[in-house]
């Protein structure tokens, strides 16, 4: 059971409140979590990762356990605390300064 926190705009699109729970079979990685998330909420396809390439969109960040995991390989295992559900995987819109 993986806990995922979406930014407000994506919660609106997915018609959910609060955290989202997804189930992942096998290794818990960015890729497997996002695959599971998009399978459950297909309207999120293209909003976090680009269509086709599945690259992270430039202004989207992935945080967990007080770390920025945005630049990790999508196939790197996520922290154990995320895999066990103790900590959420945060999908965050990058800050817009100015």
């Amino acid at each position: 059971m993986i806990r995922v926190v979406l930014p407000a705009h994506l919660r609106t699109l997915a018609r959910v409140d609060g955290e989202v729970i997804v189930n992942v079979k096998g290794m818990v990685t960015q890729r497997s979590v996002l695959d599971a998330l998009e399978a459950r909420y297909p309207m999120l396809q293209g909003t976090i990762r680009e269509h086709g390439t599945l690259k992270r969109r430039a202004f989207v960040r992935f945080f967990a356990c007080e770390q920025d995991l945005s630049h990790e390989s999508p196939d790197t295992p996520l922290p154990e605390a995320v895999a066990t559900g103790a900590e959420p995987f945060l999908i965050v819109g990058a800050m817009a300064g100015g």
Binding site: H9, L13, A39, M43, I48, H51, A58
Partner: protein, 395 residues
């Protein structure tokens, strides 16, 4: 009595302004899709309660929205309100946001490349939908103008999209983005010949198809871009800002180019300048009176680097002679200290008698005139920056 519905796209959401035919009292609904950039909303001429909308974000990408009840409720095409977003076997239904450029059938690699700012060739890369143009006859057919510049069509109400990639055959390798991006922003359908369509692309030019979008050619003879292009008469590369047509005379086109207001009387085969006595011939929108095909409107902007009206005076200019002779329309518009811009998609007309004209500004005002521009009132004053205006005249 008739109803007028004004669809307003802004930097931070969409708004719908509604009035009866007197156009004196307006109801304002919104923001719809709050916080998102709403590049364009447009209703189907064939089924006015159907409205397509382009919802986009630098963060989260492109969403296509559709309303089938005149803007009261919205859904992503293929996912009606209240229905599950997955099929019973768990397969996703969310294809409506997917704009995938054609690739080479032999290699699977990008079909073509275009010039980048640094002179290198780059493959097309999807950024956003600038403009949605519903078919004149079929509510399920809609065209999308894209950045990087391409034309897509959906024939199933926006559920899936296919590129009309023949457009890129017209020297696409020479196209390059201007400062505002390489966007296809104008789509004009010929109501007397459904196979003919005109499109315009910033920093690439104007193009016409006569076979429903399979093949295209540049229609730029007569355009001169002395300060923008090394060859002022080049076939492609002109920064066309907007093209307008009156449906009763589909061979007559009016164009606001980066600089110059232009006119064609032969379906774009040739153009001549009709800037006449305008205070500046730079600008973005151009539109045609609903009942007078020789009456046209522009909003002169000081220059390409000073995107605001000359002298701080917001003036719409009207020509009743199809160009060359212009009069300033100022009644009700700010005539001092006004430094807003009016973008290319942010002007539209209704079809009532007298014709109503509407435009939105980068300062968040939407101005309307119920008497063909003789006088103006601000319908709303403090919206987010306005990106687009479309008008529906309903019986």
């Amino acid at each position: 009595m008739s109803t007028v519905r004004v669809l307003v796209g802004t930097r931070k959401g969409a708004f719908i302004l509604t009035s009866d035919g007197t156009r004196k009292q307006w109801d304002v609904s919104g923001p719809h899709f709050a916080g998102w950039e709403m590049y364009h909303l447009k209703g189907s001429p064939a089924e006015p309660s159907r409205i397509y909308a382009s919802q986009t974000s630098s963060w989260f990408g492109q969403i296509i929205q559709r309303s089938d009840d005149g803007g009261k409720t919205w859904h992503q095409p293929g996912t009606p309100p209240g229905e599950p977003t997955t099929t019973p076997d768990g397969m996703p239904k969310g294809e409506s946001n997917k704009f995938v450029y054609d690739t080479s059938p032999e290699t699977g690699k990008p079909l073509t490349t275009h010039q980048h700012y640094d002179g290198t060739q780059r493959p097309w890369e999807f950024k956003r939908v600038w403009h949605l143009e519903p078919s004149l006859t079929d509510p399920d057919t809609v065209y999308a103008g894209i950045e990087d510049a391409a034309l897509f069509r959906s024939s199933n109400g926006g559920q899936t999209w296919q590129e009309l990639s023949g457009l890129r055959d017209v020297k696409g390798n020479l196209w390059q983005p201007g400062a505002g991006g390489m966007c296809l922003h104008t789509i004009v359908q010929d109501p007397t010949n459904l196979q003919r369509m005109y499109i315009a692309i910033s920093a690439a030019g104007a193009f016409r198809t006569d076979d429903g979008g399979k093949t295209w050619r540049a229609i730029t003879r007569g355009l001169k871009s002395q300060y923008e292009l090394p060859d002022p008469d080049a076939e492609v590369g002109h920064c066309v800002h907007r093209i307008a047509m009156h449906p009763s005379r589909p061979n007559v086109l009016f164009m606001q180019k980066h600089w110059d207001v232009m006119r064609s009387d032969d379906a774009g085969e040739s153009w001549h300048e009709v800037s006449g006595n305008l205070p500046t011939d730079f600008g973005f929108p151009i539109d045609v009176h609903a009942h007078e095909p020789e009456t046209i409107y522009v909003v002169p902007i000081k220059s390409d680097s000073e995107h605001y009206p000359p002298d701080g005076k917001l003036r719409v200019y009207r020509s009743r002679t199809g160009g060359n002779e212009w009069e300033a329309l100022t009644n009700g518009l700010p005539q001092r200290d006004c430094y807003v811009n009016v973008l290319r998609d942010a002007m539209a007309v209704d079809t009532l008698d007298a014709c109503g004209i509407y435009f939105g500004t980068s300062g968040g005002q939407v101005y309307g005139s119920a008497n063909a521009g003789d006088s103006w009132t601000a319908i709303v004053r403090d919206l987010p920056a306005v990106l687009s205006i479309e008008v529906q005249t309903l019986p």
